[in-house]
Each structure stands twice: as structure tokens, then as C-alpha cells.
């Protein structure tokens, strides 16, 4: 997603105050279907997330997460299949080992490691999807706007 696109979808609260923008990478096989289930089940969760469907969390390179955070996203959420359930066998395990590297690097970019979170959401876990999103939005709200936001 380019810089301008990210700015275009910027949210502002009803009161006109700051609302966090959280980019969410959902894997096609589990988390995206889980998000779909949350929607069809009419579950309530904050509207601060922007979902990007990816084939597997294992294809999300740290570059993409860092770029999102340094170009205006206040947080990045990465949701994939539970370990052992990956459609591509070990894509989510790769994502997990990269997640450690991402958390470490965020400090080098002057960002709080809590702005990034990796979670497992299966296709049947609609309520869990809503819960993870709610938690993440609350956490980022506590942290405040990203220093890279202009």
C-alpha cells in the first residue's frame, strides 16, 4: 500500500479527535475466514483496522511491517493459522521467528514494540478475531499516535 493510500483511509473519531489506524495482515486460510465469520456473526469490534489479505503470514516480510509503521500506520496486527495448522505447513512458524526480529527492530526505529502483534486466529474463531482486534486497538490507543504520523 502506498503512502498516499494509507493517508486516504485515515480515520478520525466522531469527536474529530485522533483514532488509531491499524494495518492487519490476515492469512487467506484461517484469519481472513475468521474475520469473515466475525462479520457474518454480527460481532462488534472497533473499525480502526484495515485488513490486507495475504496468502500466508509467512509471506509477510519484516520490510512490509516496518514500512507500514514508518509511513503512518499506528499499529500492525498479523493474524495467521495456529501452529501446526498452516496450509503451507510452516509459513506461520516462519512468521513467528520473523516477529521476534520485527519487535527488536521497532526500537531501532523509535517505535514501541507493542505496536506490532502476531496472533493466531483459526477460521472458526470469529469471537477471538473480534477480541484480538479490540485488545490491539485499546493498546495502541494507550500508546498514542505513531511518531511517524504527519
Amino acid at each position: 500500500m502506498s503512502e498516499t493510500e494509507l493517508c486516504d483511509v485515515e480515520t478520525s473519531g466522531e469527536s474529530g479527535g485522533w483514532e488509531p489506524l491499524i494495518l492487519t495482515f490476515c492469512c487467506y486460510w484461517c484469519a481472513y475466514t475468521g474475520a469473515d465469520l466475525a462479520g457474518t456473526s454480527r460481532l462488534q469490534y472497533p473499525t480502526n483496522i484495515r485488513i490486507l489479505r495475504v496468502q500466508c503470514t509467512g509471506m509477510v516480510h519484516p520490510n512490509l511491517v516496518i514500512e507500514a509503521l514508518t509511513k503512518g500506520a499506528d499499529g500492525v496486527l498479523m493474524l495467521g493459522c495456529h501452529p501446526g495448522d498452516c496450509h503451507y505447513l510452516e509459513g506461520n512458524l516462519r512468521a513467528r521467528s520473523r516477529a521476534d526480529a520485527i519487535s527488536l527492530m521497532l526500537e531501532d526505529f523509535g517505535l514501541e514494540p507493542e505496536r506490532f502483534r502476531l496472533e493466531w486466529v483459526s477460521a472458526s474463531e470469529g469471537p477471538r478475531f473480534a477480541q484480538v482486534v479490540t485488545e490491539m486497538v485499546e493498546q495502541v490507543k494507550k500508546l498514542g499516535p505513531s511518531p511517524y504520523r504527519t
Binding site: 520490510n63 521467528s97 520473523r98 526505529f109
Partner: protein
């Protein structure tokens, strides 16, 4: 008529100037085609006029301008702007001018912290005030020349290679473009890659495994041997026409002196991503920011936030 050449050096060790001298025989042919009008390391040409009669720094008009070193002080900044004004073509010579180089490791700290450490907190130093009279003010961080003025050509490397300097100057005098390689050091590295993941890192002091006298294409990739090698995220070209990267020729892992593959790339993110993908615990990597951005700190390294 000979082309007029001006050269200026900023935050640098002087190694890139030695590289010019190191061109060897081709330098004799090159010198016939250029007339050096300003070069502090070589000739006594004063910035404020020979007797100090001028009030503004002045550099003579030139066709080609070479700048080595990153921008660390207000003086450097003004000189860079003056060079841009007076030179038709401006070349950033060496990694310091292109990406900040080793001096830009200072960007991991604020200027204030650096001054405090050097003039007050260092054990062997009497506590003194910061120098403030008759010295240029330091900038808030080290800048690459390209961040301050427009640069027409970049010649990275620490130091850059004689072949590259000669090639670029010749190309420029003949009106040809001089594009940099877009490949990575790994693309030009002849060592054997078996794509087996590393689990533990070796220290630089550990011995590299190789058979003395055997050609390099019989040596195992240094990364696979467990040494941190910056090859995957570094621009190739250091090997010149021979191809094989310089450090690899000396059985050493790549230090990353040719800088990132593109202007926007961040070698630290690339390397951390690549290493964690092959199963290496990222916490094992010591001092990641400085290790992977050792030569490209301008605009990439920043002081750690205060908690």
C-alpha cells in the same frame, strides 16, 4: 581544453583521496585531461582568498566536483552548497559522501550526547566546556551529501575502488553515463552455497574454513559457515573487473561498505528479515543497527528513544 576539477573533503579519513592516487598508470592519462583547481588535501587553495580577504567561502568554477565525506558541521553544509553552485557535475566519492559511512554511526547518539561523552564523561578527560569559539557548529546528525544538495553521480565504497574512480571520470569526460551495479555482493561471490540454515553465529575472531591455495569457488559460503556477512544486502562492484568481492578475496565476510542496493532499502531490515527466516534467533545478532548499517547510517540510524 582540460576539464576543471574541484575536490572537497568533509567528515572522512582521507582514504578515498588515496584511492585517486591509487589509480596508477591510467591516472597519468587522466591528469592530462583535467586541471585541478581546488583540492585541500593536495594544494594550498584557501577558501576565504589567499590572504583571507574575503568574507564568504569561495570555490572556483569547475566542470567536475568531487566530494568525499559526510556532512557533520555547518561548514560542511555551506561548502557542499558552494560546490553545487560552482560545479557542473557533482560526484559523491566514497560511502561517507553517499550514505554517511562510518562517521554516521554517530547517528546512534544525539550530538549533545556525543559532545558530553567526549568533553565531559570520558575517563581520561578533564571536564571541560564544549568547544564553541572559532569552530563550526555541528549539525544534528551526519548527513549524506545527497541529503543536502543534489548529487549527479555516486561512487560508493570504503574506500571506493581506483577502477571505479577512473571509470567514472573517464565516462564523464567522454559524456557517457556511469551506472552502478544493481546486483548484490552475493551475486558476484564465487563461494559454494548449500542453502543450509545457520543456527549459531561465529565471532569475527573465529577462523574461516578454507583450504589455503585452493580457489575461492571451493570455499563454503561464509554466512553458511556462521559468520555474519552483509553480502545479501550490499551493492556489488567492489571487485571491479575481476568480479570477486574484495573482502571475500581476503577470506573475510562482506562488511557492507558499498551500501544498500537501492536508496530506499534498509540493510538492517533486509538482513534481520533474511536471517530470522532461515531460523537464526534474532537476539543472537550483536548490535544489529550498527552491524548491518555500518556504512549507511545517514538517514537510517537514529538515537534510541528515551524510556
Amino acid at each position: 581544453m582540460a576539464a576543471r576539477l574541484a575536490e572537497e573533503w568533509f567528515a572522512i579519513c582521507g582514504g578515498c583521496e588515496v584511492t585517486i592516487l591509487d589509480i596508477g598508470e591510467p591516472l597519468l592519462d587522466l591528469l592530462e585531461k583535467v586541471q585541478i583547481v581546488h583540492m585541500p588535501v593536495l594544494m594550498d587553495h584557501k577558501l576565504f582568498g589567499q590572504t583571507g580577504e574575503k568574507t564568504e567561502m569561495e570555490i572556483p568554477e569547475a566542470d567536475v566536483g568531487l566530494i568525499s565525506g559526510g556532512i557533520r558541521s555547518d561548514e560542511h553544509k555551506r561548502l557542499a552548497q558552494e560546490m553545487r553552485k560552482k560545479c557542473k557535475t557533482l560526484i559523491a566519492l566514497g560511502s561517507c559522501a553517499c550514505y554517511g559511512g562510518v562517521p554516521a554511526l554517530g547517528n546512534l547518539y544525539s550530538t549533545e550526547e556525543l559532545l558530553t561523552k567526549v568533553y565531559r564523561e570520558s575517563v581520561s578527560t578533564d571536564k571541560n566546556g564544549f568547544p564553541c569559539e572559532e569552530v563550526p557548529i555541528l549539525t544534528d546528525r551526519v548527513y549524506a551529501v545527497g541529503e543536502v544538495v543534489k548529487v549527479d553521480m555516486s561512487l560508493p565504497g570504503c574506500p571506493t575502488t581506483p577502477e571505479m574512480v577512473a571509470g567514472a571520470l573517464t565516462a564523464l569526460l567522454e559524456g557517457r553515463p556511469f551506472p552502478l551495479s544493481t546486483k548484490s555482493v552475493c551475486d558476484e561471490c564465487p563461494t559454494i552455497r548449500e542453502k543450509k540454515a545457520v543456527s549459531t553465529l561465529k565471532r569475527r575472531l573465529d577462523a574461516v574454513e578454507f583450504t589455503p591455495g585452493a580457489p575461492l569457488n571451493q570455499m563454503r559460503c561464509l554466512m553458511e559457515q556462521g559468520f555474519l556477512c552483509n553480502g545479501p544486502a550490499t551493492r556489488s562492484g567492489c571487485g571491479g573487473s575481476e568480479g570477486t568481492p574484495r573482502c571475500i578475496r581476503a577470506y573475510m565476510p562482506c562488511e557492507g561498505c558499498f551500501g544498500p542496493l537501492s536508496e530506499k532499502a534498509n540493510p538492517m531490515v533486509d538482513m534481520m528479515g533474511a536471517l530470522s527466516s532461515i531460523g537464526l534467533d534474532p537476539k543472537q545478532i550483536p548490535d544489529r543497527a550498527a552491524t548491518f548499517n555500518r556504512f549507511s547510517g545517514a538517514g537510517r540510524l537514529r538515537p534510541a528513544p528515551k524510556r
